[in-house]
Every structure is written in structure tokens, then in C-alpha cells.
């Protein structure tokens, strides 16, 4: 392996230009993959939208005035060959022009966007909880490896990980809202309403992160450089913060990527359990009454969010792992 691009005193190492070019190539490759994924998702929605019949009937409310239906048909090119329709579908998508809600005749994009803040509040808090609980618990369990605390925590993590979110949600509602009467069971009026859904959603992710952090930390804890650092006078905490965590970061980041997917999928169910007014609940309602315009917007929005999150994780992965941009041969 070559030397690091920045030497320990901060001066640029040799071949800095070549390494930056390699890093740029890595980022571009990931970006291209992301765009290709989005293209496949949009094509998928186009194909199944076409399979179900006339999009003008599917995406417009039944009582849409004829002139609106005619305008929609010409904008989507429904009288033209299927390839033109495909191209127009992309153009309308970029313009944010995706039909009207069946429920109230409003623009589907606007209907979805007004629900986004609630979902963000839920998922971002749950994600923060996931990290705030998962990482320390994982490291703690690794330090207590094989002892009672480790076993108990890992057992809890397995139980939490394998239970469906709605079972946990209903259990929490029963315990805290009905039995103890401490917290509200549904709605989103106050900050207290946030607690139960965030705990339900966040702890599932935390269980996964804790399990992986534990195994990643165990692997690095046994390395000679950690023992060397402690022999050289660093305390255990210092050694963990300076050596164990940075080296365990790569596998943990990969798992964080998985957790985000779990959060997005889980939020659909958790929003339903706690009557949280986010896009997950909107999606379920839209699917139930087959409000295709709204469902389509949500699916594409969630796909964009997921794919962007994956891209961010990939790039972070490239940045935290020096091996990735140290040696051109390692870059894929």
C-alpha cells in the first residue's frame, strides 16, 4: 500500500493529483449508478402504470372536467407512440407534473409535499435515536464480551430486531398510553406525541446497529495497534475513540445504509400504528382507495430519498476508508 495522501504533519503526500482524480472517478461512478437506479424505478412505474390501462383514467379523478382530461392527454402524449409517451413521462416527472389526487382533485405533488415535514420529523429523530443507542450499546457489549451484560444486551437486540414494528408499537401503546397513562397513543399535536413512534422506529434500527458495532469493535479491539496504544499510556476510552471506532467505521457505515432502508419501510407501518400524519400513512390511504397519482409521487419520492441516502453512505464510505482512495487498484 502507498503512503497516505496527507502525511502526518499535514503536507500533501506524493501523487496527490492522481489520487484526487481517482476519488473523483469513484464519486462519478457512484453518481452514475444512482441515476441508473432512479431511471429503473421511474421506468418501473411507467410500465406498471401502462399495464393497468389508460393513465388519464388512472391519474385523474373520475369527475375531472373533459377539457382537463384532454389537456392531460395531450401533455402526456397518450395518442402518440409508446416511446414518445415514455419520453414525455420523464419530462412531466422533471416538471413535477404527475397528475391529480383522486381524493380532492388537488395536484398530487402538492398533496404529498405537505406531508413531508411530519415524516422527516419522525424518521430523522428515529435515526438519531438509532445511532445514539446503537453505537454505545454495541461498543459497551464488545468491551464486556462474553459477560452477563453482553449476553443480555445481545439477546435484547435479537428480540427487538426480530419483532414486527406493529407488535412493538401496540405493546408500547398499551403500556404507556393505556396502563400508565403517561403518553398520548396517537396523533402529532405535541412533542410528547413523538416519543412512542420514535422509540418504536428507532430501537429496531438500534438493535441492528448494536449487533454490527459489537462485532466490528470486537474485531478491532483484538488488533495489535490497540494494545500498543494502551501500552503506550492511552486510557481505554482514548484508545476506543482514536483507534477502535475509526477502524470499525467502515462496516458500521454499511449497516447504517441498511438501517435507513429499514427506517423508510418501517415508518410506513409506524405512522399507521400511531396515526402519524406523514407520507407513509398517506401512501397506505392512497393505495387503499387506489389513488394512483398520489401513490406514484410517494413511491418516486421515497425512491429518490433512499437512493440519495445510499449515495451519501457510499461517498462517506469512500471518505472514511483511506484504502479506498489511497491505492488506485482498490477503487471499484
Amino acid at each position: 500500500m502507498d503512503t497516505l495522501p496527507l502525511q502526518h504533519d499535514g503536507r500533501p503526500g506524493p501523487h496527490l493529483g492522481r489520487r484526487l482524480a481517482a476519488l473523483a472517478r469513484f464519486c462519478l461512478l457512484k453518481l452514475a449508478r444512482t441515476l441508473a437506479t432512479l431511471w429503473i424505478v421511474v421506468t418501473f412505474t411507467f410500465v406498471i402504470l401502462r399495464l393497468t390501462g389508460d393513465p388519464a383514467l388512472s391519474l385523474l379523478p373520475d369527475n375531472a372536467p373533459p377539457d382537463i382530461a384532454a389537456a392531460f392527454r395531450s401533455r402526456w402524449g397518450l395518442d402518440r407512440p409508446v416511446w414518445t409517451q415514455y419520453a414525455l413521462y420523464f419530462r412531466n416527472m422533471l416538471d413535477g407534473n404527475l397528475g391529480y389526487s383522486l381524493a380532492n382533485g388537488r395536484d398530487a405533488v402538492a398533496v404529498v409535499l405537505e406531508r413531508v415535514p411530519a415524516t422527516l420529523r419522525l424518521t430523522v429523530s428515529a435515526f438519531a435515536l438509532t445511532l445514539a443507542v446503537g453505537l454505545p450499546v454495541g461498543v459497551f457489549a464488545a468491551l464486556r464480551h462474553g459477560r452477563m451484560a453482553d449476553r443480555a444486551l445481545m439477546m435484547l437486540a435479537t428480540v427487538k430486531y426480530s419483532l414486527p414494528n406493529f407488535v412493538i408499537g401496540i405493546g408500547l401503546i398499551y403500556a404507556f398510553a393505556i396502563w400508565l397513562r403517561l403518553l398520548p397513543s396517537s396523533g402529532s399535536a405535541t412533542a410528547a406525541h413523538l416519543i412512542l413512534p420514535v422509540v418504536t422506529l428507532g430501537l429496531s434500527g438500534a438493535a441492528v446497529i448494536a449487533r454490527f458495532t459489537r462485532s466490528a469493535a470486537l474485531e478491532t479491539l483484538g488488533q495489535p495497534y490497540v494494545r500498543a496504544a494502551m501500552a503506550a499510556g492511552e486510557t481505554r476510552t482514548q484508545a476506543i475513540v482514536r483507534h477502535v471506532l475509526p477502524n470499525a467505521a467502515v462496516p458500521i457505515l454499511t449497516v447504517i445504509g441498511f438501517t435507513i432502508g429499514g427506517l423508510v419501510g418501517g415508518s410506513i407501518i409506524v405512522e399507521q400504528v400511531f396515526a402519524w400524519p406523514g407520507i407513509g400513512r398517506l401512501l397506505v390511504d392512497a393505495v387503499a382507495v387506489r389513488d394512483l397519482a398520489v401513490a406514484q409521487v410517494i413511491v418516486i419520492l421515497l425512491a429518490v430519498a433512499m437512493v440519495t441516502a445510499n449515495l451519501a453512505i457510499d461517498l462517506a464510505y469512500g471518505l472514511v476508508n483511506p484504502r479506498f482512495w489511497n491505492n488506485d487498484d482498490d477503487i471499484r
Binding site: A36, T37, T158, S162, V167
Partner: protein
Amino acid sequence: MTSAETAAGTAPGTVAANRRRKRSAFRSMPFSVCLGACWMALMFAAAIAAPWLAPYGYAEQQPLLRLKPPALFGYETPFWLGSDHLGRDVLSRVIHAIRLSIVIAVAGTLIGACVGTAVGMLAARLRGWWEEALMMLVDVQASLPFMIFALTIVAFFGNNFWLLVIIVGLAGWERYARLVRGLVVEAETTGYAAALRAVGADSWRIYRHHILRNITGALLVQMTLNFPETIMIETGLSFLGLGVQPPLTSLGLLISESRNYIAIAWWIALAPSIVAAFTTLSVCVVGDWLRDVSDVRLR
């Protein structure tokens, strides 16, 4: 190497040694795995014997006996686990729900394994652009939460039972595809497939008779690992009201129905929640253990 192997004088790595190692792994099965396996056996038994086990029909209503508490907890009612808001026996409904959930999960797992294996084998056989395209689809599927995909299909095609089975079946196909492609490529390039090809066997014969048999173990482990997810997708969709439709019952549907009565009739939620929780937990524990003791490399 265990003492049994040394005593028998078998060299490590031989078929006999592997078999012995697996047997000793089964003997030293942890207690939790044992419990999980027993619970799964119980669930399968309940699924098979549902019509004989259930004291009442799953849709049989007794309007005069609504919301009765469970006899199991000392109440004077004819229902072991209580009755719901329409006077239906909770125990019978749970037993029938187990049956339907397990039938869907088993059918789904088989569909997923078949689709994934076919895609993985195709990718490994065709190589080049086809492989790239197929594996790209696999990556796309892996990068999106399956629930979104499932909801999209239900949104566009409406709700029906067979569609639900297919959707549940598609959950996790990408993992089978990845696994199978990896194993087949390995066999093709370094292993027995190259040797068979050298003696003149055609692709069909190699894939059907040799590769498929060799990867069955890995596939079975992957199926166990996927099983909890298939159950969760089905119960999740049913919980959202988009899976199994009344009057049929599923664990997710039962829990969803119980939610409205949880403040006055906790027993409606109790049994399906416990069954759903124990089942997914058992399959997870058993699947993880199987993966650890078998020597197959997954991912």
C-alpha cells in the same frame, strides 16, 4: 476437529468429517435454538391441524358473547382466549391465522427461491451485458425497502389473494440471485463444472444435475434466513389492511383489528401479538444458528 473425529481417524474436510461436525453441532444446539425449533414445529402442526384444533369456525359469530375475557385467566366464559367485538373466538381465529400466514410464507419463500435461483443462474451462465443488467436489477431491488415495492404493486393492480402470494414471494429474491450467481460463477470458473464441461456435459445437464444439487444446502439456509422477512411482509401488509382481506384472517389483520379495542379488550391483541413475535423470533434464531453451523458462505 472434535475428539469424535480423531477417534474415528477421519481426515478433516472429507464428507464423513463434515457430516460428523454437523451432527455434533446439532447435539450441542443452544437452548434458545432448541426452543425456537420447537415453537416452529408447533406452529407448523397448528397450521396443518387448524380445522381440527380450532374449537369454533374462524368467522363464526356469537353476537350475545361479544368481547368476553379469556377463560385462561380465570374468567367464566366459553372462550379460552376470549372473544372479539363480533363474538368470534380469538383462539380459533389465531389458529386459522397461523395457518394462512404460514401457507403464504412457505409459498412465498418457494417462489422467491425459484425466481432468485433462476435469475442468478441466468446471470452466471450468460455473463457479459446480461449479467450486468440482471445484477443491476438486483442492486436496485436491494437498495429500496421492499414494503414500498409491495405497496406500489398493490396500488396499481388492486388487492387479491394470489397477487399477495406473489408479492410475498418476491421479497428477498435479490438475495437468492446474488448468492446463486456467486456460487455458480465459482463452480464454473474453478470447480467441478469446468471439469464436467471438459468431459463433454452440456450446460443444462451441469446446471440441473450438478450445480443445483451442490447449492441446495446454501439455498435452504438462505430460505430460513428469508422466512422471517416473508412473514413480516405478509403480516405488515395485512396489518395495513392491504394484504389478506376479511373474512380470512392473518396475524397482521388480527392485530390491526384488535387495535381499536385495546383499551377495553386487551386479550384480542395479546394472542396474535405473542404468536407473531415468537414465530419471527424463532425463525430468526434458528436461521442465524443454521447459517453459523453450516459451512456455506452467504454474501
